[in-house]
Symmetry: C2
Subunit: 115 residues, 2 copies
């Protein structure tokens, strides 16, 4: 059993193409012996976003706090905020975009091999 507060989980800044103002934490992952899935948390700062991309595995998301959107295509985005869940299936294009002055904080659960 592991019990941890988000504030006590180490943070790492993500620097890659298509990313802006993105910090990652792994409150539950393979290091903890989680057999199948990992819970990552992404904090997307003001004006920040994840890459607009797809990948061959799904993720399950929960919006801990903030306001933003999920970009699905060049002409479609869906508004999200605190209390929303999303399921992004394998090979679906997606991007999380912060749309407020406060951080957009998102749980992103993935197969542990992809954490």
């Amino acid at each position: 059993m592991k019990i941890v507060k988000l504030n006590d989980v180490p943070t790492s800044e993500i620097n890659m193409d298509g990313v802006k103002n993105l910090v990652k934490q792994i409150p539950i992952g393979s290091m903890d012996g989680s057999p199948h899935f990992s819970f990552r948390v992404f904090t997307i700062g003001k004006d920040g976003h994840t890459p607009y991309h797809s990948h061959p595995y799904e993720h399950l998301n929960y919006i801990i706090s903030g306001k933003g959107a999920i970009k699905k295509s060049d002409n479609e985005e869906i508004a999200i905020e605190t209390g929303y869940f999303s399921l992004i299936l394998a090979d679906e294009m997606h991007q999380y975009v912060n749309k407020s002055n406060e951080p957009l904080v998102v749980i992103c659960a993935v197969p542990k091999e992809k954490e």
Copy 2:
């Protein structure tokens, strides 16, 4: 892709031995085509609790809101509140107990076969 607000997800009351004031929702699950894992949400009302039990699969939890404890054994419980994560491994005894007058709302991610 599925995007849903927790308030829009159907609720069902759980009545089983060892349970008190417990409501379940499945914002992301096998019905949505989630390939491996499901996100369930349990709302534990005032004086409520989940069963004190174990099972042969893990779950990954996030405390959306409230204050309570995880009972690990007859003489050990760990305080939890909004913003905590927990990993309950297969066969570990555990019980979520509400310790405040407000609901204790918990994401509980499990293999989809166990949703």
